[in-house]
């Protein structure tokens, strides 16, 4: 059995930040990530971030990942990293976490404190022939294009006009791929106006109040039929047939919480945070006294917020282990809480704050 003071599960923006923060206050940390490389979704984000200067607005996502990894390098004595390593279970009897590296190596690890930064998974839509090759999630399209430099196809129907749908559409066009249209079920564009405007200027139609009715094709995707819907999301008749070899789904994310459920953390369904999330206190501690949560696993938000949540969880963990002095911890927490409040100051942040009210407790009863 391996031992560690702090186990951070997930090496994306939240997990890296939590590990760095905890280590900077003196914790010994083990960080596991199921992917081959650390950085989570940041490594495929070639666009410049919004948000605030402290959270590196104006910097491209993959550059932010490089900065975090450089910072990580400075803590090689304090943070032990395992990539290609999935935490598969939490065992309540003794609090042990099991992990597999690849498919052939297995270990158990006992941690005094755990930070769950497991991120999110993509939502799918059920429509006829959605199993055909050529139906992709937006995450996979970004991985192919931005990590491996492979264009997924020639002509794409994008489903979803949130920020991910808009940004990935624009990146596809930069890669020379045609966007046949963007389909959005709501009556307005969900993403930032600046992203939508760029796309509209390039002549791409955005079909509001439309949904994908079915994919067309036999062995592979040849196109799709889209259909107008009413405000109750019921089809109203008008259908449009669009030719394409790729249907890209960008219809949202939902928090990845299996291990939080396994550990018996109090969970609650919060639509503003896009699914079930763990209830937490102001420092991201769940109802389980040894488990913290941060990033998309705590509710779907932007990477900039995930990084600050990770920092808060990192301080929280260090504090509970008695690392660092009280005034330093308090100073950092105040700083991070101010920064995250700034990030949530806008219109999108209002929705997040409503959701957080529902799942945040002031303090867990001892």
């Amino acid at each position: 059995m391996r031992q560690t003071e702090v186990l951070v599960i997930g090496g994306g923006p939240a997990g890296l930040s939590a590990a760095l923060e905890a280590a900077s206050l003196g914790c010994d940390v083990t960080l596991v990530d199921s992917d081959l490389a650390l950085g989570g979704q940041l490594i495929k984000q070639t666009h410049k971030f919004f948000g605030s200067k402290e959270e590196r607005a104006g910097t491209r996502g993959f550059k932010i990942s490089e900065m975090l990894l450089e910072e990580l390098h400075g803590y090689k004595d304090k943070i032990k990293v395992h990539t290609n390593c999935t935490a598969t279970g939490y065992y309540k009897e003794d609090g042990v976490i099991s992990c597999v590296i690849g498919e052939e190596k297995y270990f158990r690890i006992q941690a005094k404190k755990i930070v769950m930064a497991t991120g999110a998974q993509e939502r799918l839509l059920p429509f006829p022939k959605n199993h055909l090759p050529g139906v992709y999630g937006a995450g996979a399209v970004q991985t192919l294009m931005n990590v491996y430099g492979v264009a997924p196809g020639e002509k794409v129907i994008m489903v979803g006009a949130g920020n991910i749908g808009l940004i990935v559409s624009y990146q596809l066009m930069q890669a020379g791929v045609e966007i046949a249209g963007i389909v959005e079920a709501m009556d307005k564009i969900g993403g930032y106006w600046v992203h939508a405007a760029k796309i509209r200027r390039m002549g791409v139609p955005i079909y509001l109040r439309h949904t994908i009715k079915e994919a067309i094709g036999d062995q592979i995707v040849k196109g799709a039929v889209i259909q107008e819907i009413n405000d109750k999301f019921q089809p109203t008749g008008t259908e449009i047939k669009i030719d394409a070899d790729i249907i890209c789904m960008a219809v949202g994310l939902t928090p990845t919480c299996e291990i939080l459920w396994q550990a018996g953390c109090k969970m609650i369904y919060v639509p503003q945070l896009c699914g079930h999330v763990a209830q937490r206190d102001m420092n991201m501690r769940t109802s389980h006294p040894d488990i913290w949560v941060a990033g998309d696993a705590a509710g779907i938000e932007e990477a900039s917020a995930a990084m600050v949540e990770g920092r808060i969880a990192g301080v929280g963990v260090a504090k509970s282990l008695g690392h660092g002095n009280a005034s330093e911890q308090a100073k950092r927490l105040e700083d991070y809480k101010g920064r995250i409040a700034d990030l949530r100051g806008g219109e999108v942040g209002q929705k997040i704050c409503q959701g957080l009210k529902v799942c945040t407790v002031n303090q867990w009863e001892v």
């Binding site: 279970g89 597999v100 498919e103 052939e104 297995y106 799918l124 059920p126 291990i259 459920w261």
Partner: protein, 93 residues
């Protein structure tokens, strides 16, 4: 609902269609765990990461309950398949 819609595969790991899920909801199997027991949805390699949400939304639509009130089922380790041989070795020290 059209035949085409019923043929949509919801749980790809176990190849369970929307039609089968609707049939069992209509028989009164109105929770994720009950559907899991009769159909094996969510019991394949992805452990429900792909299908769980769609099934919960379908249960909500058919029963008229809000998604918030539908329990997503019991989560047990392992969250992804682990070979028995690897487990039998007991892991490293």
């Amino acid at each position: 609902m059209s035949e085409k819609t019923n043929d949509i595969i919801i749980c790809r790991c176990e190849e369970i269609t929307l039609g089968e899920i609707r049939e069992w909801i209509a028989k009164g199997y109105e929770t994720f765990d009950e559907l899991k027991r009769v159909l094996r949805v969510g019991m394949g390699p992805c452990q429900g990461r792909g299908c769980r949400e769609m099934i919960l939304r379908e249960i909500a639509a058919k029963t008229g309950k809000p998604v918030a009130d539908i329990h997503p089922g019991t989560f047990r380790p392992p969250a992804k398949p682990v070979k028995l041989a690897v487990l039998a070795e007991g892991g490293d020290k």
